[in-house]
Assembly symmetry: C2
Homo-oligomer: 271 residues x 2
DNA sequence: ACCTCCTGTACGCTGTGCGTACTACTTGTA
DNA sequence: TACAAGTAGTACGCACAGCGTACAGGAGGT
C-alpha cells in the first residue's frame, strides 16, 4: 500500500533539497558553479533552484557567493510544533540534568540514524557539537542501541547492512556481537555504551514508549570517563534515567490521548 | 542584477515546501486531503509531493495520516555547519548566562523576523517555547530592535509596513515612536525592551558585528520583571552584555578572516 | 441499503523546466 | 596587452515531467 511508483516522485523537489543540502561545512558559501558540480546538476538548473530558494528565503546571494539564511533553522520548528514529545520532555530533561549534573538528551530514530530532538547541556562536554537536529551513528551510541533494540527487525538488518564502522578501538563492529548487545539492552531495559563513539565518552539511555508500547524515543545521560565511572552510572544514574523516562512516557500519554493542546495561551499574542 | 524573472522560479519546489510547512501545530498529522485543502493544491499533486518527501525521509505515513520525521530537524544543521557564528558564540553565551544567572541567546535577522540561532537557557522562563529556530516578532523584542536599528533603511520600512501589532498594552505600535526607539538604540549601543512582547518579560540586547562592521547578530539577555528590575539590568547586566558581544565579535573575526576550520578532528570519526 | 468521507490510479494534454549554446564580465598570467 | 580560465547570465526550442480531470475501490457512519 502507498508504495508510490517512480512516476509519483517529483524530481524537481529532490533537486531542490539536493541544492539546499549542498551547503555544508565543506562548502559554506559556494558559487553557483560549485553547487552545480557538487550536486551534478547543470548550471542553469542550479541557478533556477537557487533563485527559487532565494524567493522562499532559505538562501541569499552576496556577490557571486550563496549562503543559507537563518530561516532554514525555522523548518525544524514545524517538527517541534507537530510533535508533542520534545516539548513534553523538556522539563524532565532539566530534572535529569539536575539530578545527575550531566547533560541529558532525547533522541529519535530517523531511518538508520539517530537525531537529537531535545537536549539540556550542563557544560560543554566534548568537541562534538551535539545540538537539536544533530545526527549520530546508531550503532555506537546508547541512544541508538535503545532505539534499534526495540525497532522492527528490518531496521536492525538495515543498520548492520549499512556497516558498523569502528569509531574507536572498542566500538562493537561485529554483527553477531552487535545483536548480542541489542539483546542485552532488551534484557536489562537500558543501554550503556562506554567509549565506542569517542574515547572517554560514556553514556546511558533508556527507552520512552508511546501508549501503544512502541519505543518512540530514547532518553540519554552522557558524561566523560574522566568525571565518573561505569559503576557509578549503573548504581546511581540508571535508576534516575529509568524514572525520568517513565515520567516522560506518562506525560506523553496524557498529551497524545487527551486533548492535543499545548498551552493554548502560549501561542496567542506571540506569533 | 541577479533579479531572476518569474520564468526562473521552479513552481514544484515552492509546492514542495508549501506541503512540508503545512505540518503545523494546527495540523500535526494531517490526511492527504487535509494537506490539499490547506495548501490549495490538488489531491494528486499533494500525493506526489508527499511521496517525494517520504522518499527523502522528511515525512512518513502511518495509515492515512502523514507526519514529519525527525529528519526535518537535521536541515537546520546545515546552517550551523556553514555559519561559524552559532558555534563560536556558544561558550560566550554560557559565560553570559553564568554572569547574569539568566538565559542568553543569539539571534539573526531573517527578512523582517528574528530567528534564534544559539541559546543557553538557565531555567524555564516562560510559556514561550524559545529554542533554536524559533521566530519572534522584530518590533517588540530587544534583539529585533538591535538587528533592525543597524539594518538597511529598506528593512526598517518593511518592518513598519508589516505592521507593529500591540502584543501587550505597552508595545510600541506607533511608527514614529518605533523610529525614535531605533534611534535611541543606535545612540546608546544596545536595546532594552520591557514588557512589550509579553507582560513582565524584560530583555536587553547588544549588536555583534562582522569584520566589515555590519551588525550580523544580536546577543540578548532575558529575564522576568519578577526577578529583577530595569535599573539593575542597566547597571549590572548591560556592561556584561556589551563585553560578551565584543568577545563574540573578536572570535568571529578570527574565524572568518583566518582559516575556516572548525576543530578539524571533531568531524573525523563522527559522521 | 445508502451516502460521504477517504486514498489510489489512469491518462492525455499542457507548459514547465530542462540542457545546449552562446554572450558578457572578471581575474590572473604570459 | 592579449589571451586563457574562471565566473554568471540569457535565449530558445524540445521533451517529457507533472499537472488535473475523472474514475475506481474502501472504510465508516447513519
Amino acid at each position: 500500500m502507498a508504495e508510490g511508483s517512480e512516476r509519483d516522485v517529483i524530481a524537481s523537489i529532490e533537486r531542490g533539497f539536493a541544492v539546499l543540502l549542498a551547503f555544508d561545512a565543506d562548502l559554506p558559501a559556494p558559487s553557483l558553479a560549485e553547487v552545480a558540480t557538487k550536486t551534478g546538476l547543470s548550471r542553469p538548473a542550479v541557478r533556477r533552484i537557487l533563485l527559487t530558494l532565494q524567493k522562499l528565503g532559505y538562501v541569499n546571494a552576496s556577490g557571486s557567493r550563496w549562503s543559507l539564511t537563518p530561516r532554514v533553522l525555522t523548518i525544524g520548528q514545524h517538527y517541534a510544533a507537530s510533535h508533542a514529545i520534545s516539548e513534553v520532555a523538556q522539563p524532565h530533561l532539566l530534572r535529569l540534568a539536575e539530578l545527575t549534573h550531566e547533560s541529558a538528551s532525547l533522541s529519535q530514530l530517523d531511518g538508520t540514524g539517530v537525531v537529537y530532538v531535545a537536549r539540556v547541556h550542563v557544560r560543554r562536554v566534548m568537541s562534538l557539537n551535539v545540538d537539536i537536529g544533530s545526527r549520530v551513528p546508531v550503532h555506537a551510541t546508547s541512544m541508538g542501541r535503545v532505539l534499534v533494540a526495540w525497532a522492527d527487525a528490518s531496521v536492525i538488518e538495515q543498520v548492520i547492512e549499512d556497516g558498523l564502522p569502528a569509531l574507536t578501538p572498542t566500538t562493537v563492529t561485529d554483527p553477531v556481537a552487535f545483536r548480542d548487545a541489542l539483546h542485552e539492552v532488551r534484557q536489562q531495559g537500558f543501554a550503556l555504551v562506554d567509549g565506542e563513539l569517542e574515547p572517554g565518552f560514556l553514556s546511558a539511555a533508556a527507552p520512552v514508549r508511546n501508549p501503544a508500547g512502541d519505543v518512540v524515543a530514547a532518553l540519554a545521560y552522557s558524561t566523560s570517563r574522566g568525571r565518573t565511572d561505569v559503576q557509578h552510572v549503573l548504581d546511581d544514574v540508571v535508576p534516575h534515567l529509568l524514572d525520568v523516562a517513565a515520567s516522560i512516557q506518562r506525560d506523553l500519554a496524557v498529551v497524545t490521548t487527551g486533548r492535543r493542546t499545548l498551552a493554548p495561551g502560549a501561542r496567542d499574542g506571540f506569533f
